[in-house]
Each structure stands twice: as structure tokens, then as C-alpha cells.
């Protein structure tokens, strides 16, 4: 402004700072330098993801070697490579690796990534460190659906995937109920998670009632399902799960900047042009589909969804643009590692991955609590 006269009320330092703020032609070199510093800071987050990726690759190699038929660590990569390039040398080994051992690992990777991303998004949208597919009711819905199929035989479809489909459909009911509660009254994120927990109890009660009439073998089956397992997976189960998880992750990644805005609180989000309640419903619906797709195939695997995002936040912070892909990598790494441990520790007895996750996840969660890291717990 040309007609600007020094205001006697304004001290020189304030005036100088405002001048600096209004200056368009700020020091280019300085600007470039601070941008480079910021880029380095971001690069560290990508390094974390790269490390997780390497862990997945190594664990995959180890997991393939594990079993009665002897296959070497490096040999396992060779066999996979040969299979991919269509240059199969030993058909027996190829069959064992590709058809018997790999599906389990593939399901583990997809399930770990899907559950961890679902947990990360649920925690950020509901602003609650305890949010995951359990506390939003998704898991208990799936559990009820699966139990219904196993005990009473009441299924939405027949065939080999009847249990999976049932679990999936019933997993969507709690989510719809949580969203409906939030729509009915202008509820806070906290009351949404409380609604989720209430619904979880209701569904668990129904599941228990169903189990009263189950015979022993069915009970064992239900029990197996409720702890979650990667055993006996085949390639034909992978595509549906992988597609839902991949599309879900891509969608929430595209919305991750809005998720950051949402995490600042509803008012600030609206003031920045993001309709908080609408965005919350969209994001929750996406990740509910993802976790429903996962748990209906694997059964209830706990802790991956809750613990992974917390661990990732320690390393790379809470920025959702990086938290989401990093949680996917870390969750996959964690789950395949847990599965390998479950097979190795009490060999030849195989411990289910859900149990191993609880053994790893529980203490890890306590450790996170003890750290009192304000960056994690708010």
C-alpha cells in the first residue's frame, strides 16, 4: 500500500515481520534450501517403507523353506523366479512352493496390509487410538455370520465360499449401524466408537447363543475361525481379497490429505472446506469393506489392525499420506512374520497366527503405553 503510514501503535519488529510475510520475492536460495530439508524429512518415511518391504521379502523366503520337503533359502527365490519367468525346472518343487506354500504367504501379506490400513484409517477418522475392526464391530459381525453358517447352516449362498460370504455380509451390518447412529444425531467420533463396542457385545452374545446348539466338531471349527488362521489357503481365495484390499488402500490413499484435515477436528475441517461427517462415513465404509473382506477369509486376526499403525507412527509420524502406505507394508511384514513364528516355535505343533499376534501384540501394546510417547497417545 502506497499510502501506508507508520502506525505509532505498531512496534518496529512487528512491522518488519509483517513486511517479510507480505514479500512475494522471498530469498529463492533460502526457499530452496528449506524445501530440500523438508524433502529429506519426507524421504526418511519412504526409507521406513522400503525396510518393511525388504522384511516381507526375507520372511517370504524363510517361510517358503519351512516344511517337511527340504527347500533352501536362496533356492526358494530361484523357484519363484523360474515360475514367474515360465522356466520351471523341477515340477515337484515348483508345485510345493507355488501351490502349497505361497498362497499362505500371499494371504498373509494381503490380510496384514488390509487390516493395518483399516486400523490406521479408523484411528484417524474416529480420533481414537483404540479404533480397529474389533471396536467398530466389524469383526464381531463377521464372527456371527460365520458361526451362523457353521452351526445352523444358514447361509446367503451355497458352495465352498458360503462361510466367507456370510461372514462378509454380516460384517457390514455393524458398520451400517455405527454409521446410522452417527447420522441420527450429530454424534462425536467418541460416541461412534462407543456404539461400535455396544454392537460388538450384542453380536458376540448372539454368537454365544448359537454355539449352545453346536456339536463338538462344529465348536472346534468355530473356535478355529475365531482365533484366525492362514492355514489351508489356496490361490483361488486370493484374488477377491486382494482386489478389495488393493482398491480400498488406493481409495483411502487418495483421500489421505482430507483425512489429515479431518483429524484436526470437525470444526477446523469444515472451515478448511472438508465436510467432516460425510468424509468420516465414506472413509469408514471403505475400510469396513476392506476388513470385512479380510476377516471373512482368515477369521478374526486381532492386534494387527490396532498395533501396526501405532508402531508406524513412532517411526514416521501421524501424517496420513505416509501412515497409510507404511501401515500396509508394516502390517504385511508383521503378519507374515507372526505366521512364520507360529509355525516354527512349537514345531511340529502349529500355533495359529491370531494367537501369535496376540502374544506379540499384547506386550507390544503395553510397551507403547509405558513409553508415554505423546506423539502416539495424544
Amino acid at each position: 500500500m502506497d499510502d501506508y503510514e507508520a502506525d505509532p501503535r505498531i512496534s518496529r519488529i512487528v512491522s518488519r515481520k509483517v513486511t517479510f510475510w507480505l514479500r512475494e520475492d522471498a530469498d529463492v536460495e533460502q526457499q530452496e534450501e528449506s524445501f530440500q530439508v523438508y524433502k529429506k524429512y519426507v524421504a526418511r518415511k519412504w526409507i521406513f517403507m522400503a525396510i518393511c518391504f525388504v522384511v516381507i521379502l526375507v520372511v517370504m523366503g524363510l517361510a517358503v523353506t519351512y516344511g517337511t520337503f527340504d527347500i533352501g533359502f536362496l533356492e526358494s527365490y530361484e523357484i519363484i523366479w523360474d515360475h514367474l519367468t515360465g522356466n520351471i525346472i523341477d515340477t515337484t518343487k515348483d508345485h510345493i512352493v507355488v501351490n502349497l506354500r505361497m498362497p499362505r504367504i500371499a494371504v498373509g501379506i494381503v490380510a496384514g496390509a488390509g487390516l493395518a490400513v483399516a486400523g490406521a484409517v479408523m484411528q484417524s477418522t474416529l480420533m481414537n487410538p483404540l479404533a480397529d475392526s474389533y471396536t467398530t464391530g466389524v469383526s464381531s459381525g463377521a464372527s456371527f455370520g460365520a458361526t451362523l453358517a457353521m452351526t445352523v447352516g444358514l447361509t446367503a449362498a451355497t458352495g465352498s465360499h458360503a462361510i466367507v460370504l456370510n461372514a462378509f455380509l454380516f460384517a457390514l451390518i455393524p458398520t451400517a449401524m455405527v454409521i446410522a447412529t452417527s447420522k441420527m444425531k450429530n454424534t462425536s467420533p467418541t460416541s461412534m466408537i462407543m456404539a461400535g463396542i455396544a454392537i460388538m457385545y450384542i453380536f458376540n452374545a448372539f454368537t454365544t447363543v448359537l454355539m449352545l446348539w453346536a456339536d463338538e466338531s462344529t465348536l472346534a471349527e468355530v473356535y478355529q475361525w475365531q482365533v484366525g488362521s492362514l492355514a489351508g489357503k489356496t490361490w483361488d481365495e486370493v484374488p477377491i481379497m486382494a482386489i478389495v484390499v488393493l482398491i480400498g488402500i488406493i481409495m483411502v490413499q487418495l483421500l489421505s490429505r482430507k483425512l489429515n484435515v479431518l483429524a484436526t477436528g470437525d470444526e477446523t475441517a469444515r472451515a478448511l472446506g472438508v465436510d467432516a461427517s460425510k468424509m468420516r462415513i465414506i472413509l469408514l465404509a471403505i475400510v469396513a469393506l476392506v476388513s470385512a473382506a479380510v476377516v471373512s477369509f482368515t477369521g478374526l486376526i486381532g492386534f494387527v489392525g490396532m498395533v501396526t499403525p501405532h508402531i508406524v507412527r513412532i517411526f514416521i509420524g501421524a501424517d496420513n499420506r505416509y501412515l497409510i502406505p507404511a501401515s500396509a507394508f508394516a502390517g504385511a511384514a508383521l503378519l507374515v512374520t507372526a505366521d512364520l513364528l507360529g509355525r516354527a516355535i512349537l514345531s511340529p505343533v502349529v500355533l495359529q497366527v491370531g494367537v501369535v499376534m496376540a502374544f506379540i501384540g499384547g506386550p507390544m501394546f503395553l510397551w507403547l503405553l509405558m513409553r508415554r510417547n505423546s506423539r502416539v497417545w495424544g
Partner: protein
């Protein structure tokens, strides 16, 4: 510059309990506008109506001639930045990233050198430079408020609304922020609307003061010299005072009237009404 007009605005959270009644005034020059008034009189409600966080039950608000009713919250975010009274983060990020979120309305997918530059300038302006990499939740209440203010500044909107931006600041930063907002509004031609409980800060730095009184009405609008008078203060707050002039601005010296007449000690008319 952006012109804001309020025409007969009324608002109530419940129909039976109006919070705002027939509020009409306009802000047609850039500058620092302070809204003062007792607790519970509807100051926050009023500013939230301006940027559509709340929708008035009656009347209309025009931003540059466009009714907010017809604008989406995204459109409004282009015009108005809002700094709430309290801000928090459940999973906190470093200060630099927290401020960067304010660039949401301007930013495309990638963070650019320009975004980082503006965030750095805002941190410099609010003395936050050394805290750039500290987690938001490691900071004190006053530092939170400065971060929130910086997040408001980087939005680069022609209107900036602040709900008690100086409430948790020490005296030095209170004066600093008030001076900065006044200087910024005169030199860059933006409209800054600030809710303020410190009458002397308002009297010294505001270009215009909007005085609100129960039951949710605007009592008077004017320059500090016009509205900061012994009569107005007594009428609005029910407290006696003496106005002196210090460096061309009115300055209020409060007098205790408590105890002289017990019946006059009426803390909160607004709250009483809402019971």
C-alpha cells in the same frame, strides 16, 4: 478486499432458545474488527455463522455480495480462514506439518516449495521457528494457539476469523499478536475478525469494535473512541470503570463494584437463560 454483510441474522441451537437475535452490521473496509461482550452472549456463534460452521435460522450473510447459503463450505474456505478457540490433535504431527494442513485449500496433491516457504514465513511471524519439528502435543497451550494462528495465516484468505486468539498467550505475545493482526490487516487489506476478552487490547488495536449484549444482539458498532465509554461498559458488563486516554486510545481502568450491591452480581445472564 472482501465485504461482509449480516442482515437480520438469528440463530438458535434449539428453536425455543435463540442465541442470536436480529444481528445486522457490515464490515466493508479491511481492518481489525474485535467482537466483545460478556460470556455466553453468542460471540462464537456469530463468527461460526459467518463461515457456515452454523447455519442461521433467519436472515442472511453476504460475502462479497454472495449469500453464504448458496456457497459450499469449500467456496467459503477460499474466502474465510477460521482459527478456533481450542485446537487439538489426537495423533499429533510436528508443528511444520500441522501448519501445512492449513494449505489444504490452496494445495494440490504435492507439497510445493511455495507451501513450505509460506509455512516457514508463518512460523517466523509467530516465533515458532525453533519448534518446527516438535510434536504438536508436546507444546504448551500458548504455543498451540500460535500454531493454530499460523495455520490460519497460511490459508492466505481475504478474511481471517479468530476465536479468542490471545486467551492463552503471555502479555508479550498478546500484544505482539494484536499488533501483528492490526498491521497485517492495514497493509495487506484483509479483514480480521477477532473475539477478544481483553478490552484494553481491543480498545488499543481494533479499527472497529462490535459490542454484543444479552440476549444475543449487537449493542453498538464503532471505533474504539466511539464505543469504549463508561456507559457502554456499565451497560454491557455491569461493572464500573474509568476511561483514560493513553497514546490516543481509550484505556479502561476497572473498578470493583462487587459487594456494594449483592443483587447486581449477575455472573451470566446467558447461562441462566439456557438452564
Amino acid at each position: 478486499m472482501t465485504k461482509i454483510e449480516l442482515n437480520h441474522v438469528a440463530f438458535g441451537y434449539k428453536e425455543s432458545l435463540p442465541v442470536l437475535k436480529d444481528v445486522t452490521f457490515s464490515m466493508d473496509h479491511p481492518g481489525l474488527y474485535c467482537i466483545i461482550g460478556p460470556n455466553g452472549v453468542g460471540k462464537s456463534t456469530l463468527v461460526k455463522c459467518i463461515n457456515k460452521l452454523l447455519e442461521p435460522t433467519e436472515g442472511d450473510i453476504l460475502i462479497d455480495g454472495r449469500s453464504v447459503k448458496e456457497m459450499s463450505i469449500k467456496d467459503i474456505a477460499e474466502y474465510v480462514a477460521f482459527v478456533p478457540a481450542n485446537s487439538f490433535d489426537c495423533f499429533s504431527m510436528p508443528v511444520i506439518d500441522t501448519i501445512l494442513i492449513g494449505r489444504h485449500n490452496k494445495q494440490k496433491w504435492r507439497t510445493t516449495a511455495k507451501d513450505i516457504n509460506i509455512v516457514h514465513k508463518a512460523m517466523d511471524m509467530l516465533d515458532l521457528g525453533p519448534l518446527a519439528m516438535h510434536g504438536f502435543n508436546e507444546l504448551s497451550a500458548g504455543q498451540h494457539q500460535r500454531v493454530a494462528l499460523a495455520r490460519g495465516l497460511v490459508q492466505e484468505t481475504p478474511v481471517l476469523i479468530l476465536d479468542e486468539p490471545t486467551a492463552n498467550l503471555d502479555v508479550k505475545h498478546q500484544v505482539y499478536v494484536a499488533e501483528m493482526l492490526r498491521e497485517l490487516s492495514t497493509r495487506s487489506g484483509i479483514t480480521v475478525i477477532m473475539i477478544c476478552h481483553d478490552l484494553n487490547i481491543a480498545a488499543r488495536y481494533a479499527h472497529q469494535i462490535i459490542v454484543m449484549a444479552p440476549p444475543g444482539v449487537v449493542d453498538c458498532v464503532g471505533t474504539p473512541d466511539e464505543v469504549i465509554t463508561e456507559d457502554v461498559i456499565r451497560r454491557i458488563y455491569g461493572i464500573d470503570c474509568e476511561i483514560v486516554t493513553f497514546e490516543d486510545s481509550p484505556h479502561i481502568i476497572l473498578k470493583s463494584t462487587f459487594g456494594a450491591d449483592e443483587d447486581e452480581l449477575d455472573w451470566d445472564e446467558g447461562a441462566e437463560k439456557s438452564l
